[in-house]
Structures are given as C-alpha cells and as structure tokens.
Symmetry: C2
DNA sequence: GAATCTTATTAACACGTGTTAGCAACGCGG
DNA sequence: CCGCGTTGCTAACACGTGTTAATAAGATTC
C-alpha cells in the first residue's frame, strides 16, 4: 500500500503554502490566486495523485457526508425480500447526487436496544433512514426528541417523526375500484398482515373507502386476515370459499399471500378470473409469471428509497422541506387475473 | 441536535486528565489506574452520555473500520436481482462481527473510470468488495498493483486478484450428473450467458466434465447460448426442439433462462418432466413455485457475501489468509422438474 | 511622498482522539 | 539521607484538513 500524499507535499512541490493548495483545489470563492500558481498547484496535485483525506475533512467540517440505512430484517426474511435492490438503487442515486455515501446496516427484528444508534452517537453518519421502526423503540423516540436526523421508512402511528411510506389507503382503493369497475359487487378481501401493522390497517381502510364511494355495503364476513405468508393466504381463501354466496372477486393485499389464495382457488377446481377475480398488492417479480398473470398494485420501491434518502439529506443540510411526511402514490398493473383487457 | 460531549468534558467532570479517560474507556493494558478513579471516569462518561467520535479516532488510528461494497448494476437489473438481500446479510454479519461497517455503492454497468476508487483514494473505507469486475478496468488493475485492499465478487480470468466466487464448474457438474443418474443420455444445455463471461464458460465446462466422466460424448448440436433473459431461453429451447432426436433432458444454467425454456416446452405441447426433464441453476425464489417446481442448483448467496467481507477484512487486518481465491460449493435442490423423487 | 486600497499569499488555530515519554509521590533497602 | 523501583497519572505530540486573520508587495489616490 503506497504512502498517501498529503496536501503539504503538494504545497512543497508547487512551491506554495498548504493554504494555497486548499484554496485552489476547493475553488474557494473570494480568494485571489494568480492563474500561474493555480496551474502549478493543479499540476503538482495531479502529478502526486493527490486525494484529500475524507477523515481529516470530516474532522474540520463536522459533517461525515454519510447517511445510514438501517434495515430490520432476519436472514429468513431476506430470501423473500423482492424490493431491497430497488430501494437501494433509489437511495444510492439520491445519496450520490448530493455527494453523500451510504452506510448499510442490518439489525435483527427483536433488537430493541437501538444498536443502530451507535451510527449516530459515534458520528459515523449524519443521519439515518430506519426501516421497520417499532413503536416500543425507546431509544428512537429519545433520539428524535433530541433532534437527531432520522427518517422512517414506514410509520409509527401517533408519532410525528418524518417518514416516507407508500400510500396504502390509496393503493387499496385503486385495486378495489378496479374490481368494482368490472361489475363485481361481492368483493372479498384478505389482508397482508395482522391489523396491528399500519400498512395492513390502511389497506383495509382503502378497501372500505372504495366500497363506500360505490355505494356497496361493507360486509365483514367477506374479510380475512393474512400474515405475510402463502399459507395464510391459502387458508383464508379456503375459508372464504365455504361461505354461501361466495365473493366473485377478492382483493388480496399482498402478492405473496395472493399466491396462496390462488392455489386454494385452483385446488377447489375453480377458474381465475372466470369464477373468481383476484387482485394483489406489491407487484413482486413473480406476479407476471403466475398463471394467470396477476393484476396487482405496484409498490414504488425505487421511489421509496430515493425519497427517504433525499428527505434525510435535506434535513441534514437544513434545506427547505416542503413536507416531512411523504406518501408515495401507486399504480395499478392490469394483467389477466381480474378478467379486464390488458393495457399495453 | 444537542451538543456532543467530548472526552475532555468527561475528564473535567471526573477530575482527571483526558488521557486517563482514554485509558479507562479503552481498557488500555499495562496502564495502572486505581479502581476509584476508574469508577469515577465510568460514571462521568455514563452521566454525560459520552460516545467517542469515530472521525477523530479514524484520524489517529489511520483505520476507517469501514469496507465498501461496490455493485455494478443498472436499475433495470435490480428488479431481477434475487440474491442481493442475502449477499448483504452475509456481508453485514461478517462485517459487524469484526467491528466494521459497510458502505454500499452502486455504479452503472458502463462505468470504466473507476469512480468507486474514490472510496479508497479519499479514505472513506479501508478496502472494497467489487462485484461485477471488468477485465478492461485499468484503474482496478493499477490499484491492486499498488497493494490496495480489494476483493472481487466474481473473477477476472488471468488476473491474480483475491476473489470469492461460486464453484460454477462443480455446480454444473452436479446438475448434469443428476440428469445422468436419471438415465438420460441425450442431455442438452442452454448457457446462462455468452461464453465471454467466466461463469458461463465454467458452467459449460462442468456440463462437459460430467458427460465425460459418464462416458457420454459431448455433442455441440445440443448446446445453445442464453443471455440472461427469459426470451433467450425461449428461443434456445424452441430451437433445440426442432432438431431430430431432440434431447430428453436439458440443463439450463440459469433459472431465469430456464423460465423461458419451460414456456417453450409447454407451448410445444410437451410435458415436463415426462417428455423433457429440465434442471436449472441459481434457485431463484420463484423456482419452487413453477409448474412443475424446478430442480436447480442453489447459489450460496449468503456465503458469498460473508466470505468476501471476511476475506477482505483479514487482508486489512493483516491476519493469516489460508487462501485468497475462494470457491464456494453449491447444493442441488431436487424438485419435480426432472422426474426424480423429491428429497425432504 | 504619504496614505489608502488591491492583490497574492501565508501563519496559525481548531477539530477530538490515541499514544509516548515523563513526572511526582511513595515505599524500601542501604 | 540517598538511590531506586513502583504506582498513578498527565503534558504534549500527531493525524490532515478548512478557514480566519494577518502580512508583504505593488498600485492608486490625494
């Protein structure tokens, strides 16, 4: 590993002071440097292959120019995580556009101690995006109280901490409206998760809102709870098929859960969409390869990452913030599982 | 944002020098500190909620305790990346086990300038794991020449740069052997990518080796080239089906490509595995949900991430390195697309 | 010709830590 | 009383940079 070259060595080679080197290389405005010395400095820097030491720069500026992305996830969950790569792309773009870097950290789901707070406390980063926040995370609340730069990916109900999230209510509304527009009047729903999860409750609320605005009655005998897994979807749908006057369409608030529901329908000898229409949520990569291809609501994964990082950096730089509570819109991806004509 | 507390303030509160604070908090061996002052310092530190500033520490130790993970990937590719989350889990574990942190950076596929080298040059990190290295990357070769700490995820043929990779030859051998063990003698192959890619050439080599050891002749009329996509798999398989004496089994060196191949087979009115057996490579999440579920070779994504980070950190810390060229083994996942009885 | 302004450059400080070399106090053998 | 080892602690340096205040030389003004 070749010795690093410091600004002092560049200064010596160019025959000027280290201060001048700094002024030239940083293009400090207001500092009068003659064109001749400017060139000498630039050449010397190039010749010595000089790169300023970010650590020393952090020391004096007080900024690390780094943000953390803390992901609460078990290794098991990782296998089924279809969106992380896109989220990371979004973050990476936003981050490098501002000259920042991204520190990535995974913490176990059960962690409550706020291990990740070391990132801020020891000043490895200027702020963090926290994915999967827990409402019982005392460290988190205290840190936000003290003005730490934190943006949530997801929400904690009741807490006014800046966040970026999907507009789940709206997404569910769009999906349900689609089913209604296809003349369905008995529309079932299977949630993506227990209602303790904000996203789950919101998607249920969106479903109800769509029924309301169409003048359809909400019938809770048509609603079942999923819990992330295919299995839960299978059971829920199996159950829905046994009631008399079974629904002619179902909105399943998670593609993974919908996968199970689809199997239950087909195992019962029924056809999708002829006998039952089904609409999912998330648009996982697999959705378009299902048989039939699944109509679903697209999760704006890239946008989530981008918006979260951008908001956080605005906070760090004290830039103007229009709205610290960002809800991203969704889009319906029409395929053939609802019987609608495919849109190009 | 509350003012940070420095070691000096802790020292003042405890009534000792800053040096003593440093000795106590770092448990410096050989330094005699009386139990009484030790306690005073610890209490003061706790009371003031002191956390040492990593930047200042970096300054004096010369180590950043960070490694970079540079991923060469376009946003389009991200959607089809099924392994990144697992790779990151592996890295994250290895990294935090050694008290390091991970800096994540994405660069566009066409980048040749070595933008990512800024991570090392400006000393943001102590070393990097580079995914998707290009053999025409001049910056990379020069940096390695100069002794930079770099580990490749993947290989550059002919260059002796430390790397971690899947044992593609072995994986392909295992897959082909499986087909042979099911009494197939005319076994076709569709590669995952053009042969310029090491992984692709190696998987082809493994396929040939398995044929060899079974005494089966290599017949290049049974081999087609894929290029990552489903479409390429569809075309390749469609083509294979037209030759006389079509193969009774096919090894497709990528699950995604196999997806297309499967469609081609089924569109031709043939049954899998009755008419043609098919074995994939990668074990993407979707594989087990295909119809029929796809027998395939599991890519050790978690292990790749772990091993790469671990090797890099060993290099950084000058620890003993048994072998800087790591090839990870694979495992066959038997499902029903080859007609073998499923293993539990 | 003295006073003032402009131009080009630099000396010196600050950031917060790890660490080496050294200092004062004390006990103990002679 | 002197010399010496031990114990407990600290002063001072180093790390590489950004930035403020100051300096010297030359140009301009009155």
């Amino acid at each position: 590993m070749g010795k690093r070259t410091s600004a002092a060595e560049v200064a010596e080679l160019a025959g000027v002071s280290r201060t001048t080197v700094s002024f030239v290389l940083n293009n400090v405005p207001g500092m009068r440097i003659s064109e001749e010395t400017r060139q000498r400095v630039l050449q010397a820097a190039q010749l010595l292959n000089y790169h300023p030491d970010s650590t020393a720069r952090r020391m004096v500026t007080g900024q690390t120019k780094m943000i953390g992305f803390v992901l609460r996830q078990s290794p098991d969950q990782a296998f089924g995580d279809h969106f992380l790569p896109q989220v990371l792309h979004g973050m990476s773009h936003a981050v490098s556009a501002q000259g920042f870097h991204l520190v990535f950290e995974i913490i176990p789901p059960e962690d409550q101690g706020g291990v990740y707070m070391k990132l801020i406390n020891e000043r490895h980063v200027d702020g963090i995006v926290l994915s999967g926040p827990r409402s019982d995370d005392a460290e988190l609340l205290r840190a936000c109280e003290q003005g730490a730069n934190i943006v949530l990916a997801g929400q904690i109900p009741g807490q006014k901490i800046p966040y970026v999230d999907v507009n789940n209510i709206d997404g569910a509304k769009i999906a349900t409206r689609h089913l209604i527009s296809l003349s369905h009047t008995r529309i079932g729903m299977i949630t993506n998760a227990p209602l303790a999860y904000t996203a789950s409750a919101d998607r249920l609320a969106g479903y109800r809102a769509a029924l309301d605005e169409a003048g359809l009655a909400y019938d809770e005998t048509l609603v079942r709870l999923g819990d992330f897994t295919m299995d839960s979807g299978y059971k829920a749908m199996d159950d829905l098929l046994t009631i008399d006057q079974r629904p002619s369409a179902v909105f399943v608030a998670s593609d993974t859960v919908a996968l199970g529901a689809l199997q239950a329908i087909q195992n019962a000898g029924l056809q999708v969409p002829q006998d039952i229409a089904i609409c999912g949520f998330d648009d996982i990569p697999l959705a378009k390869f299902l048989n039939p291809p699944l109509t679903t609501v697209q999760l704006p994964a890239y946008g989530l990452g981008w918006a979260a990082a951008d908001l956080l950096i605005r906070m760090i730089l004290n830039k103007e913030i229009i709205n610290p509570y960002v809800l991203l819109g969704t889009e319906l991806v029409v395929r053939s599982s609802c019987g609608a004509p495919e849109r190009p």
